[in-house]
């Protein structure tokens, strides 16, 4: 069970810090707030936003990481989305993609549906689940000092790495990225591969 520590981090500021020096990373975001967070930092052709497919963000990142072993792939998703696809942690751990980083914006809530509590509110520890699956590098972040340590891990430690960032459930303005699936897919592939 996760220890009870005060949660103070603002998710928008966290994602902004993570993406500030993003270099050439390929970013996959889970549906709901993580997609809005990434859009609020700024739209980017290397972003692939999930608007649905709950439980699929980490696995989308896995397929991409396996296809592009020389590129760093970062998945930012929520605690509810991660819990729905939590078996994916085992699938990722078995594949051992050295270029895949997973970062959870864990507000312990289902944010898009009325802020109902998720299991992480009740002590379910996602970093411990990643550890149990076999991740060698995992952590839970509660403050800016820990975040400053975690960001280089997301970018350059041998993957797969897992960072669960505890963020407040304070409401944020909705910032919507493009939502047309074929457009997002074609834009991403064209930028990465030079063809759609």
């Amino acid at each position: 069970m996760a220890s009870r520590r005060k949660i103070t981090l603002d998710r928008r500021k966290v994602v902004e810090k993570i993406l500030k020096d993003r270099g050439d990373i390929l970013l996959v975001t889970g549906l709901g707030a993580p997609t809005w967070d990434a859009a609020a930092v700024g739209d980017h052709p290397n972003n692939f936003y999930l608007w649905g497919g709950m439980g699929g963000a980490v696995l989308t990142g896995l397929g991409l990481a396996l296809a592009q072993p020389k590129r760093r792939v970062l998945v930012i998703t929520g605690d509810g989305e991660m819990l729905m696809g939590v078996g994916g942690l085992a699938t990722v751990a078995v594949q051992k993609p050295s270029n895949l980083a997973i970062c959870i914006m864990d507000n312990q809530r289902y944010g898009e549906t009325g802020m109902q509590e998720t299991h992480t509110e009740h002590g379910v520890d996602l970093a411990a689940m990643a550890a149990g699956a076999g991740f060698q590098k995992y952590s839970t972040v509660y403050n800016n000092r820990e975040l400053a340590e975690a960001i280089p891990v997301l970018y350059s430690e041998q993957g797969p790495v897992f960072v669960d960032v505890k963020v407040t459930d304070a409401p944020q303005p909705m910032t919507l990225p493009p939502r047309d699936g074929p457009m997002l897919k074609h834009r991403f592939r064209e930028n990465l591969l030079g063809h759609v």
Binding site: G53, G56, T91, Q95, G181
Partner: protein, 177 residues
């Protein structure tokens, strides 16, 4: 039985050739007895990344990500797994991700396990409702060409396609072993 076993291996070999020709680089799967040979061949092939899944829905997302990264893939599963993928198919459908699924059927031809029957009988209906193009193969001799046609429509036309391999192909006697 010896003849039957040989036949089983043969269609798998032909299908694997078709998958190689389609430049499949990721094979995601939840095992089924009918896919045993294909999975072995995928694991043994250095150009293919075999991705063992905890649930079939993971495979839809994995192959979407693979396509984003420039690789084609295929998803192998049993008909019971079709029930697990329905919501995730929305992602492939909405984004027009190519999706090639090879589904070995249960619950339809001499099934001994009654709990396999409901999903087996519902498989075609739910795939159809989810917008998946369905190709059926009940004769071992036609499986490879069916997979080839399915791969073309998946990757050339950007569609979700399922090849349903009839339980009759593998032979119901195998299931009781």
């Amino acid at each position: 039985m010896a003849t039957k076993k040989k036949k089983k291996t043969d269609w798998s070999k032909e299908v694997f050739k078709v998958l190689k020709k389609a430049d499949i680089r990721q094979i995601a799967y939840v095992p089924d007895a009918g896919h045993t040979s294909l999975i072995k061949m995928a694991v043994a092939d250095n150009a293919i990344k075999p991705v063992s899944l905890t649930s079939e829905q993971e495979g839809i997302a994995v192959l979407s990500g693979a396509w984003l990264g420039g690789e084609a893939g295929a998803l192998l599963m049993q008909s019971s797994g079709v029930g697990n993928v329905i919501n995730m198919l929305g992602m492939a459908n909405e984004c027009r991700f190519p999706l090639l699924m090879l589904v070995t059927m249960r619950g339809e031809w001499g099934e001994f396990n009654p709990w396999q029957v409901p999903m087996g009988q519902a498989t075609e209906t739910v795939l159809d409702a989810a917008g998946v193009i369905i190709h059926r193969a009940d004769d071992p001799a036609e499986i490879a060409e069916t997979v080839e046609a399915a791969a073309k429509i998946a990757f050339d036309s950007g569609r979700m396609v399922a090849v349903l391999i009839g339980q009759r192909v593998v032979g119901f006697k195998d299931w009781t072993k």
